[in-house]
């Protein structure tokens, strides 16, 4: 199908608005994402107790919470669509590439909001020391883009499989590992407040890896979406 250059922006915007509206109606993904993260943070904070932790440990714990909550939340959206049958209607009316862009934007916005909230609660429960808050926020945002870049394509596959939600972290983890390793490294630096001084390959990885993921997903999505 041809995609007229003038029409696609409006159509993608319409898709994103539709997803936002349907999410706001039930708030299912937001709630489950957030509750999952909250439980993780509470367990960690409770067991760690009054002992502080080094920046490296904070980076690891934060990303564990972010990774698993994101996985839990993203698969909900598209699985629900397939189950309710609205996915078929989409398939008939909109070219696959536009569906992908719309889903990507929606997932990214959703994850950005929730992950920043999780970060806020992380500071509340764990009180990591150090003055690099701005850097940490930046790293969380960049990492979130990688998370949604990988998960959007994979969740389309998972939606048709029988294990559904449990499958997504299994499929996503090997692909996201380079990004996660870099994210933990850079977050650790950011907690120490040294982000701008010491950044290097890791930050570049966090910027460019999602671009590669998104490009590949854009090319592969039609194969997974259309029957």
């Amino acid at each position: 199908m041809e995609i007229k250059s003038s029409g696609w922006v409006k159509r993608v915007a319409a898709l994103v608005v539709k997803d936002i509206k349907s999410e706001l109606r039930t708030r299912y993904a937001l709630n489950s994402l957030f509750m999952f993260a909250l439980v993780t943070l509470v367990v960690v904070s409770f067991t760690l107790g009054p002992m502080g932790a080094e920046p490296r440990v904070h980076a690891v714990l934060l990303w564990i919470a972010l990774f698993f909550s994101s996985m839990a939340g993203i698969s909900r959206g598209i699985v629900q669509e397939v189950e309710k049958g609205t996915a078929d209607a989409l398939r008939l009316t909109v070219p696959a590439e536009l569906v992908y862009v719309g889903k990507l934007i929606f997932n990214t916005c959703l994850l950005l909001i929730v992950n920043l909230l999780i970060l806020l609660f992380y500071y509340f429960f764990m009180s990591p020391t150090g003055n690099g808050v701005g850097g940490v926020i930046l790293v969380v945002m960049l990492g979130t883009i990688s998370l949604s870049g990988a998960s959007t394509l994979l969740s389309a596959m998972v939606a048709r499989a029988s294990l559904k939600g449990a499958l997504l972290p299994v499929l996503a983890f090997p692909i996201l590992l380079p990004a996660l390793l870099s994210a933990v490294e850079v977050t650790q630096l950011a907690f120490k407040g040294r982000l701008l001084l010491d950044w290097g390959g890791d930050l570049q990885m966090l910027v460019f890896y999602p671009l590669i993921l998104i490009t590949a997903s854009y090319l592969l999505f039609p194969l997974v979406w259309e029957d």
């Binding site: 394509l153 596959m157 499989a161 990885m205 592969l220 997974v224």
Partner: protein, 218 residues
């Protein structure tokens, strides 16, 4: 027919050479002999992944399920060789660095290869085999997961300090190995590659015979 006898003889020679002809390395001593087996196995594990990907692409182009079978088979072989490479690597790690596993960047990358293979098989087992969905999704996953591989195999070990002996072809692009060791290593690489090609050929023969109506237990 003749090729397999030649291959068998070659491998026997390689094994003898690994223990008798190649000198013990400086520092590592006789433990270094494991590289004549460990490196080719890791190599075959990686090549098998590439071959699976090629078959996956061919499947996506032609929608012929024959290619899907070959892709899965090569993924199985790749998994086997990668497991062997991981085990031999862990043995080496235990005797030289003290622990079976330290998350050295190269260990991490081979572990991720195993995870990719594992995820691939989990994905396949969670999809029905009727229709072409399973084949299509498997192919897409192989291609998508490949993005992580160059980062993990080439970039990561060079960025982070590694316990691994320096990559044989190092940053300046020059070989630094003793010639005798190099000969045995290359011979072993050739032998293992030959083994892999032979296994593939056997499987294709089985597939051809099965399609004609026979039944085989693999």
């Amino acid at each position: 027919m003749l090729v397999k006898y030649f291959l068998g003889l070659w491998m026997v020679l390689v094994i003898f050479a690994a223990f008798l002809y190649a000198p013990a390395a400086m520092g590592l001593g006789d433990y270094s002999r494991i590289i004549y087996f460990h490196v080719p196995m890791a190599w075959v594990g990686g090549v098998a992944y590439l071959v699976s990907m090629v078959y996956a692409i061919k499947y996506l182009q032609s929608e012929n399920l024959h290619y899907d079978r070959l892709a899965v088979f090569n993924a199985e072989i790749g998994t086997l060789f990668t497991i062997l490479a991981t085990i031999t690597g862990a043995i080496f790690a235990r005797v030289t660095w003290g622990d079976y596993w330290n998350w050295d960047p190269r260990q991490t990358s081979i572990f991720i290869l195993l995870l990719i293979y594992g995820a691939f098989f989990v994905l396949r087992s969670s999809l029905d085999s009727d229709g072409d969905r399973r084949a299509r999704f498997s192919a897409v996953y192989l291609l998508f997961a490949f993005i992580a591989v160059p980062f993990l195999v080439f970039i990561l070990p060079r960025v982070y300090a590694s316990l691994h002996p320096e990559p044989i072809i190092n940053v300046e692009g020059q070989l630094q190995m003793n010639t005798q060791m190099l000969i045995v290593l290359l011979a072993s690489l050739a032998g293992f590659s030959g083994l892999y090609a032979w296994i593939n050929q056997l499987y294709r023969r089985i597939v051809r015979l099965e399609d004609k109506g026979g039944e085989f237990d693999l």
